[in-house]
Amino acid sequence: MNPKPLLLALTASALASCAVTKAPTAAASAAKSKSGAPKAVLNDAAAKTDELDDYGTGTTVSDPLEKVNRATFWVNDGLYTVLFRPLAKGYEKAFPKFLRTGIDNVFDNAKYPVRVVNCVLQGKFDRAGHETKKFALNTFAGVGGLVRISDKVVDTADIPAEDSGQTFGVWGIPHGPYIVLPLIGPSSARDFVGLAGDYAMNPANYGLYFHDKNGNHDWMYIPPSANTLRSMPGQMKTYDELRKDAVDPYLAVRDAYIQQRNEAVKK
């Protein structure tokens, strides 16, 4: 195994173990507000605007690195504008829609080990079976995954995709501090470790484990690079939709990320 993912996993694991502090309560965060700010929110009842209001205070993850995270967020935002968005547009122009869909399907199908291993680790054996059926259908009937035949079959059409971060969540491991990763974007200490695990298990990256004796292994970058490029249009679209109508884009992305991940753990 390439030592890099392992090192990544260990570093993030250490971070996660240091970061078990819960998200600050409404009272605590309100108490920190600048002078002249409105009265502090004292309890959960006070955080309600009416009887059916169950939204709480909106603080969903601890963010002790907020200053660094915000800086990374805006650097990423600039890089998305000058680099990612043009690349995504170029890719969309160069490849017709049906071909892009086929490429997406192949990479998604190849990610089967990530999903099935995490189904098993979470004790979801029925789901692991459905994932296996989906993989077999798409690989054999769908020409190596190009066509997603599984969409036409009831028990394989809508399987929630499991990953390592979700497995940690199911095991009761909290997010830890929120982290904005350079280029990649929003994550948490827990999900960062999970990301390393998923990266190692994804066949698109398997080439990175092999080196020939002459050190000539440039080919190994092709599948992971293609995977990154093909996912850019979708990721840029999601990011732009959130950012466009946000009051505070940093908080909008942080909250959406945490909400989405919490929901994924529940599924």
Partner: protein, 194 residues
């Protein structure tokens, strides 16, 4: 158990089930009507801007913008003056309409599959749906509440509640600068080019 109670028990159970099912059915029927109206407009629209204009009156009919704004602002809402509340509601409505309208590509027809609605509290019904759109599948849950008729009070897309998301932002703005800061932030967001 007497014969009468033996017969009455299942009858009562049926009646109670009927009473519980009624709000969910009403809310679901209202939602289906609203979604069909919006999709009808989205299919016919020639551009995003015309779509936003045409869809606004329909959304105003089916969405409780006052509830949405109050909850998006959070606990700070109680210290807003009446004119500030009205202004915030007007600005937030514009933002919601734009956010919602931007999710559609004119001319494209999504497929919506409705799942079983639940009623987590009296006066509230959650309607989960699956949206098949441009080859992708999205889980979209509509939160509906009784306010002189069933109205939409939140849309949860892939587990992300629109109102909770705005609350995380506006609550933070309020804590820093109160109602004026919230109104300024909303104004800036509305003025941004979409």
């Amino acid at each position: 158990m007497t014969k009468r109670t033996f017969l009455a028990a299942p009858l009562l159970a049926l009646l109670t089930a009927g009473l519980h099912a009624a709000p969910a059915d009403e809310a679901m029927s209202r939602l289906r009507g609203a979604v069909n109206e919006v999709l009808g407009i989205a299919t016919k629209a020639s551009s995003k801007s015309t779509l936003a204009v045409s869809v606004t009156p329909v959304l105003r009919k089916h969405i409780s913008f006052e509830t949405m704004t109050r909850r998006a602002v959070g606990p700070g809402w109680n210290s807003f003056k009446p004119d500030e509340k009205a202004k915030a509601t007007q600005l937030f409505s514009s933002l919601v309409v734009r956010t919602y309208a931007n999710k559609f590509t004119p001319g494209e027809q999504p497929r919506v599959d409705y799942k079983t609605a639940t009623s987590p509290a009296a006066g509230r019904v959650d309607v989960p749906t699956t949206l098949l759109y441009q080859g992708s599948r999205y889980s979209v849950t509509y939160r509906m509440e009784q306010a002189g008729g069933w109205l939409i009070t939140d849309v949860v897309i892939e587990g992300v509640s629109m109102i909770a998301n705005y609350r995380s932002q506006l609550d933070s703005v309020f804590k820093k600068g109160g109602a004026p800061a919230v109104l300024t932030s909303l104004q800036q967001s509305v003025s941004k080019q979409s």
